[in-house]
Symmetry: D2
């Protein structure tokens, strides 16, 4: 089989750069075109010296339609609001698109415009777009032209809850997601709040009861529950580069016990390579997922309060962004889903 | 007034050492005796070089009864299970005692023995001991002989919830406390899990649904609610030296709105110097409390789920340990409660 | 004695804010006026929440001459090039000035303009200004109107070498200073290079053979040596908030041994409160100086290469900036030099 | 070609575990046997959860002779002093050995016993052993039975200096190496000094003028210089997981200029894949090498002091340990030297 020609739009953000790392190591894909708004005509390895001796790619300007004629798949790693202006039916006739941003994740234009507080420029594509959470929408992804790669928080949250919600083991009105993220989730921007001295040796919550990923989590869990779910999602910033840890709480439905929960997680994820279910009494730590496409999930029944506590961990730039994008690409091009993603994490790192 | 003579039992743990920092700066107290099991006969400043040119104290062995004859107050900074063997009525006849450990915090011997999985050696003192959360038990503390200084997690959790629980604004069956702590909370021990490379760049939860501080939080909130409360408490380890951030969730009782909650917090804490209530829309960050005896509290109503979200932050070694102990001492010796504790935190640090 | 009225010009940078921390705790000085270019008319404690309940100061605009009429001393915490435009003879007639910036540190206008690549606007004040390294220029500082507070790197470097150079124990042509600094040394600016993810888990050198502090170190050591000294100074950025560690290397002159070096350091610093000479075989660590005005110095003779290796550590924002400024103020106003600076460092922090 | 059968002796230390990461990703080698003293009969992925779904290897006891009959190459990742007892001629008849420890690095038994303060148990193998710094001893390594893999500090130091020393551009009596290492260099041991709170937010030097790696650096540079070299080597501990940054200083010989130095580095390393020479004015940062086998080298001429300043950076667990071991294996088995090591580093990480 020929190597898949890819383009990365926005390769100098952290997600774009991580995608480059994965694609340079991928056996059946290569980067044909790489763009950057801020660093046009510069050598990628002059921006990211970790690519010296690996990449001699020069960053170019972005013209999505022209690029779509030259490649098999375009990865978009852009701030929200841009992809919906640039992805068109014409582009999608030429090549497949995997959007790492938020523009095509929500099925409802209203919900998007409410949470993102901006107009959506391509509402006609919302139904065509497939939500790229491979473990849940695998079959649709295989045939998709346009895949909306999930957010980092949402991947942990949805996968953590999916079996419990699908099997209706919990009271849907009691779901609380308390999520903690490393700083790379904020992207590679100049920002006083994420200056080293402002973030190091500090822990804080932010966007309390108002983070946009809430809408994405609710959409997918509502589909799974077949009813409308509203939940609390609280993100936190942790002084570390990578990793998301999520603690999820919900009241168990009457009569539900450990074995029921265990059976649900085994049923949905027991055969999923990238979901590592922890043994009883063990819980995930972000360090074990660093650099990989794995998500680790463990849970505990609290009999005192009749609650289910689910812990999930992943690398926000891999399973939470670039790795999942490659997993989607593998599915869309009928490759082994694990291709290029099957390696041990680096530790300590 | 004469300077209060103090003894610190266990001055080479992190809490004992922090107490030394505060007492060396206290205008009306001094350290008469300092003991250490591991470093007897050594100079304190040879163990902690931050005290060079500040302290020439030599560490001695511990004999609580003999020490009680020479000082006005003894601070105990020991692992649990020891204080209850050594504090006796005879000791308490000679001097006051402030125990930074867990032995005298719970009123119920059964509850103690259940959660700590060990025998209590002085159950007869449990009722006499006063729980040293100054903002709640101020009057009792003033007359106490034996004060049980609260734990670090518990101070954040109880103070965070106290107004909401006292005023019955929330559904007591829905309380969830998701707490995140810096590593100094684990003490100064050789431990593989807290080796630098195992803890740095990592986030994890631990003792899920089983941490001992749960019992302490439930005791105090049950007193406040005048009914038995059971709740979920989940501690996490964060890669930073100091600080606890706590996110607390509960369903609001029907009809309770922002103003009700605001009024409750103002009523209980509006005049408390060490409780800093955040302005609407602002939330605490651990960095602002570092090195100080302040606890910062903010809250948010989530109308979508009819929930109250409370955020609290403090320095686990100060308001969560040594600072609160000094605040207790000030109360017990009829000094200005703020004495020695009224300074700005160090930032960035 | 009445409280000294002070003004801090630029109180929202890290050095200005650290000065505020120290002055709020100072028994004989208070902040009368605080200015900020970026945050005029805002409450200082809204920018730095660590000051909530400590300070209700509102930040004002800066007009140095007007301010000079209202206070006893002005602290300038400004980027270089501004102080030399604003400090005038008229200002100095009204009050004393302590400049934490670089404008008045060098005696030679040429040297300043060469290293700083900018014009000096007040060359006539260069001779009047006293270099505020208290341990070296104490007597001159006492009578100074204008004190140039030394840089953070330079304090460590000059004090580390001063006895060895003054006593001519080393070959002046072989001095190498390898310095490592925490990130707060870069100030509170939005800067891609000091974003958390770019700085955390990284170590780098910068401004190799070209850092401006070189000129300041050479000036002071040349005075001490009574001959022109040129040396290598290499700064590094370390992923931590505060602290400078400096390793200094030089060949010993023939016949110089351990006792000679020991005698020199004892002679110059044996009675200096803020210089803590380490015992033989012990070396400084930045953590022991954090938050304090101490500088810790240790040295080793390497007989294999006939070299002297000196290690020095301090807190760049205290002895390297705000603390030294307060020490200077104490000297200038005939107070105990240690006033407000005599406390143990915070650890772990 | 068949897959190379390897054994890792001591796979649960950080170097052993990193070797596992690299060998699981190597196209032409696999781990046949993995041993651990502390974790015998346990599943490797239960100790290091980053290997869950990657490795099902069970750790066994170590019997070097028996193992040597079953594999093509043994990697030893042991504390010093053990390898020299266990590696025998009989073992070397059965298979090749790559020792990541110090036992076979020094040619002189005396030097070893002096610096390591212990007896050497296999002095007869010292001459046979090849020092495994591939860029310098490539041809000898290809035919070696026993390779002594260099230390982490030594790789940076020797490669940084090799061209300057080989071409005699510097005064050999003036070499100073100031090295800074992440904490993983201290290994995975329970140690108070490397507990999180003792190491985080701190910088220190250690083993000043007495670190064992000095002997190794001097040996190799003395070979290169064809004369006996003595130098200063100062290691430092930096609060980060991985990475070594080394600043090297030496006086230039009269008349040597930038072009001479540039020519020397180009000559020796211009074609070396794993040595990345920085462009003029650029200098290495450890972050760009993280997780990879690259060493980045830059230099600066300081005309003011007629000195050469060389900066080098690498990942202490890869080019400084496990990666170089794989590079050695590739050479010894006539594979492409880059096999399994040709990928971009992970950033931010």
């Amino acid at each position: 089989m020929k190597s898949i020609k890819t383009a990365i739009i926005g390769m100098t953000g952290y997600a774009g750069e991580e995608l480059a790392r994965l694609l340079y190591a991928h056996p059946k894909a290569h980067i044909e075109i790489a763009t950057s708004k801020s660093y046009q005509n510069q050598c990628f390895s002059d921006i990211y010296n970790n690519f010296t001796h690996i990449s001699d790619k020069v960053l170019t300007a972005e013209n999505l339609y022209e690029i779509s004629k030259k490649v098999d798949v375009i990865f978009l790693a852009l701030p929200h609001g841009i992809a919906s202006s640039e992805v068109t039916s014409a582009v999608l006739k030429n090549c497949k698109v995997i959007d790492l941003g938020a523009d095509f994740r929500l099925k409802s234009q209203n919900t998007y415009e409410h949470w993102y507080n901006t107009e959506h420029h391509a509402p006609e594509l919302l139904q065509e777009a497939v939500y790229g959470l491979c473990e849940i929408h695998r079959e649709k992804i295989k045939n998709a032209k346009l895949v909306a790669n999930p957010g980092c928080y949402t991947t942990t949250s949805i996968l953590g809850l999916y079996p419990a919600v699908s099997e209706a083991l919990i009271d849907f009105e009691t779901i609380i997601i308390d999520a903690k993220s490393g700083v790379s989730g904020a992207g590679r921007a100049q920002n006083l709040a994420t200056q080293y001295c402002e973030t190091n040796e500090n822990m804080k919550a932010y966007k309390i009861a108002s983070h946009r990923h809430t809408s994405e989590i609710e959409q997918e869990l509502s589909f799974a529950a077949n009813t409308d779910i509203k939940l609390i999602f609280t993100p936190h910033l942790v002084p570390m580069n990578r990793g998301i840890l999520t603690a999820i709480y919900a009241k168990l439905k009457p009569g539900v016990n450990y074995n029921d929960v265990k059976a649900a997680y085994d049923k949905h994820f027991g055969n999923e390579y990238f979901v590592r279910l922890m043994k009883k009494g063990n819980f995930p730590e972000t360090k074990w997922t660093k650099g990989t496409n794995f998500i680790d999930i463990g849970f505990q029944i609290d009999e005192r309060t009749n609650s289910l506590i689910i812990l999930g961990a992943l690398d926000n730039l891999v399973k939470g962004a670039a790795g999942q994008a490659v997993q989607n690409m593998n599915l869309m091009f009928d490759l082994d889903e694990k291709m290029g993603l099957q390696y041990a994490g680096i530790f300590p790192a």
